[in-house]
């Protein structure tokens, strides 16, 4: 069955058809789930933030002036929501508190068997912990660049940050991650 385009769905939502918004949610949610989980380090937090982001998008859909670029507009909302949540939590020093490694994340990293290629899950978890040690701006830039594989121009559009600043954030993120992981585990 032929799918409706984003502008058609946006128009339907604005005409009062909330089911059309559900279609937009299904179309885009998977794209942002990985980013939110990596950015926040928690499926529960990612769930909360994406709920909030989609709801904000619904409430503000009338301000989406280019429905044909709904994806770009929604991306900005999601990234802002994740960044804000991460910044708030950073202020409260709650990052990974549930993992019980807040005092010394590197101590937990050191328990991983990163040299064992079969233990991919452990590797990923330890990398996520290191990622969680980055300041939110660097973490966001690293994920968008190397995990989501956006170009710097795309990143600039999503984040509202200049290309030069983004390159610096990615560079510093790489350097910090190397400090956290390479010296101990030779990643």
């Amino acid at each position: 069955m032929e799918a409706r385009s984003d502008p058609e769905l946006v128009a339907a939502v604005l005409a009062g058809n909330s089911a059309a918004f559900a279609a937009l949610v299904r179309r885009y949610r998977e794209t942002y789930t990985r980013f939110a989980v990596r950015m926040l380090g928690s499926h529960a937090d990612a769930d909360d933030v994406l709920q909030s982001a989609f709801l904000r998008a619904y409430r503000g859909l009338g301000s989406c002036r280019e429905p044909e670029r709904f994806g770009a507009w929604l991306s900005q909302i999601v990234v802002n929501e994740c960044r804000t949540f991460a910044t708030r939590r950073s202020r409260r020093d709650r990052r990974f508190v549930d993992d019980g490694v807040l005092d010394d994340p590197l101590a937990a990293v050191s328990t991983a068997h990163l040299t064992d290629p079969a233990d991919a899950e452990a590797l990923r978890e330890e990398i996520e912990r290191a990622l969680g040690r980055l300041v939110p701006e660097q973490r966001e830039a690293f994920i968008l660049k190397h995990v989501e594989e956006l170009s710097y121009e795309e990143m600039a559009e999503v984040t509202g940050v200049g290309v030069s600043a983004l390159k610096m954030r990615v560079k510093r993120a790489c350097e910090r991650l190397r400090e956290l992981l390479e010296e101990v585990h030779h990643v």
Partner: protein, 253 residues
């Protein structure tokens, strides 16, 4: 509604950042080690770190159901543009008495914007008024109304324009940004300007009628609710502040 719920991308591993759509195999082809502005060894390191993080993540099956339940109870999405209306109330904190007093004095200007030029002209006039107010000059609402009407060329049914001034006294801060539901909670969108003497950070911006949550981000990291108004806790249990635009006294809670 099946035609709404089905889409070619719904069952594929699509990538739709910025509306870009590429298949998973396309993404795989793009996995070229790189860490811009860094040597190859750094790029290889970045790739080794990033590769495990590209595994798919899933939301709970009830995600959509919970979201749509909230959507159904939310105010309906509207095609109406952001109203050309802003409250010249002030927000925030300040230990400086005069600034506080200024902040607590709500100002509402009635203008008569037409579509397009009228709206732009209205906003420009309001912004100008805000600046003058901070400089201690007075301009009557009648003057403003007349100026807006002149710019518009033709008078139409007046709309209320609300400009809200946010003020924070932070003598030690190097940078202060305003975040709120009106700017997507982005610390990069609405920076505050410091006074010449330093310490008093301000920004004025038009806000649509209604309730808005906001806070300040100091030096890029420190989240600060408005110290002059009682804090509220948002859905993340973080303290923020609320300004109600269009309230009788520019109420803040």
């Amino acid at each position: 509604m099946s035609e709404l719920s089905e889409h070619p991308d719904a069952t594929s591993h699509s990538v739709r950042w910025l509306g870009r759509n590429s298949s998973r195999s396309d993404v795989g082809a793009r996995h070229q080690p790189r860490c811009d502005s860094a040597p190859d060894e750094h790029a290889a390191f970045a790739e080794r770190v990033a590769a495990p993080l590209r595994s798919e993540e899933r939301l709970p099956p009830d995600f959509e159901g919970r979201l749509m339940a909230a959507v159904r109870t939310a105010a309906p999405a509207s095609a109406a543009p952001v109203p050309a209306s802003v409250d010249l109330g002030a927000v925030t904190p300040a230990r400086t008495r005069s600034v506080v007093e200024w902040c607590r004095r709500p100002r509402t200007i009635r203008v008569s914007p037409l579509a397009g030029l009228a709206a732009a002209a209205g906003i420009a006039v309001v912004a100008s008024v805000g600046t003058l107010q901070m400089s201690g000059h007075e301009r009557s609402a009648a003057d403003t109304r007349a100026a807006a009407a002149t710019a518009a060329g033709v008078a139409v049914a007046p709309e209320t324009v609300h400009v809200v001034r946010f003020v924070l006294v932070e003598p030690q801060a190097r940078h202060v940004a305003l975040v709120g539901d009106f700017n997507g909670w982005s610390p990069d969108v609405t920076p505050l300007a410091a006074s010449e003497a330093g310490g008093v950070w301000t920004v004025s911006l038009p806000l649509p009628h209604g309730r808005h949550e906001y806070a300040f981000v100091v030096d890029g990291t420190r989240w600060t609710a408005d110290p002059l108004v009682p804090a509220v806790r948002d859905e993340f249990a973080t303290e923020s502040s609320v300004v109600t635009v269009g309230a009788p006294s520019g109420r803040r809670t």
